[in-house]
Symmetry: C2
Subunit: 233 residues, 2 copies
């Protein structure tokens, strides 16, 4: 089982700890860490180059020296973030050897681990996807090319649902539900915690529990039938 790509990232806090132990971190890396945290939390427009420089503890001019422009730096961070998202899809969704049920378990585990390691990633990804609904940018680096990985997984779901006959739910519901149950809790953790009276540790336990629960839920959802409408399946 491969580790979430994102978990290996160096964050600003770890960087500062390292420097206390006289471990030198290059200015380039300091800038990248700060930029990653700020861009992922606040997005492109709300993040100021001065904030990145200040957080990194370096001079503003160095940012342009290493990365030419704010835009270029952002594209770099975005690409890294989207790779973390895409890696799971390509490697897991597209695996032709793995059975559907096991695949669901692996997907849930992969993403929950990745998001626990980088809490702001889900909101960032949602924001990117949502932005593209208004400004479509096909065929460039922002577009998440995943080949036919999704199709492989979708076919497996379709096949499974065909046993239920024409009253089975649309396969799109299954994929949607899977992603919903994984993503959403991370984007609304404060609300969840304050409203259900939970602390940070409770939240982590709940997310760990979901690794086992979501696959069970997804499987049971596929038992549901509905009067079919005219959508191609």
């Amino acid at each position: 089982m491969f580790k979430p790509f994102i978990a290996t990232y160096l964050c600003v806090a770890k960087m500062k700890t390292a420097e206390k132990h006289s471990i030198k971190i290059s200015a380039e890396e300091k800038i990248k860490c700060s930029a990653r945290e700020l861009f992922t939390q606040k997005g492109f427009a709300a993040t100021k180059t001065r904030d990145i420089a200040e957080k990194a503890g370096i001079n503003l001019a160095l940012l342009n020296y290493y990365f030419r422009s704010k835009q270029k730096l952002y594209e770099l961070i975005m690409e890294e973030n989207m790779i973390a998202f895409r890696t799971g899809i390509v490697r897991l969704f597209g695996d032709t050897a793995m059975e559907m049920e096991e695949k669901i378990e692996k997907i849930v585990e992969y993403y929950i681990d990745a998001f626990l390691a980088n809490r702001d990633l889900p909101a960032f990804i949602i924001s990117i996807i949502h932005t593209h609904q208004h400004t479509p940018v096909p065929d460039n680096k922002f577009y998440i090319s995943i080949g036919n990985a999704q199709k492989v997984f979708l076919e497996q779901i379709k096949k499974h649902l065909q046993k239920k006959g024409i009253n089975a739910i649309h396969p799109a519901h299954v994929i949607t539900n899977l992603m919903s149950l994984i993503f959403f809790p991370f984007t609304s953790s404060t609300m969840l915690k304050s409203r259900a009276g939970l602390n940070e540790n409770d939240f982590i336990i709940l997310m760990q529990e979901r690794k086992k629960l979501i696959p069970i839920w997804i499987m049971s959802m596929m038992e549901t039938t509905i009067n079919s409408k005219n959508i191609k399946k």
Copy 2:
């Protein structure tokens, strides 16, 4: 049954159609419509006052004449958006007379209708909630005060789960799942459509189907049991 508050909003497209039929729309309203669409789609920092003015077909100075500042205008729009979200919670979650199962059905119907009428609202709400995870702003107008409405609903869920004994899932899972299944599809509709090969009409049909499906799914999820961990329930 009350209609989604948001559905009554005037959008820029409708405004232009109205003007073709010689119906006059005030400049103030034009600005507000444009601002609502842009702020909801792109957020505060990415939206420029010049863009709002251009979209509204009025002069930049008028924006400040009517609303004093970009910040004030944003707060107005945000308040309206959050009311649409909060209204459902306060009126439905907090209803002590309604049974849990019926309540779930009403909540799903209310939010899906509201989000079909204003597609960008879910992403906006998620963005606001997420932003507050980094910059908490208690006790001000941004904070979504919902009183004890959520508690009422949470207690109903707790009571229902108690029949399953100590191995029942935590009530927070149920609320989380409910909101996840409602919100997420709207924030990722482009991805959903492109990956499952659906068009806009298919998407709407799927969302309509979900009004019936989500309550069924939520009820069946509550049948799931798990080895209890030490979170207070």
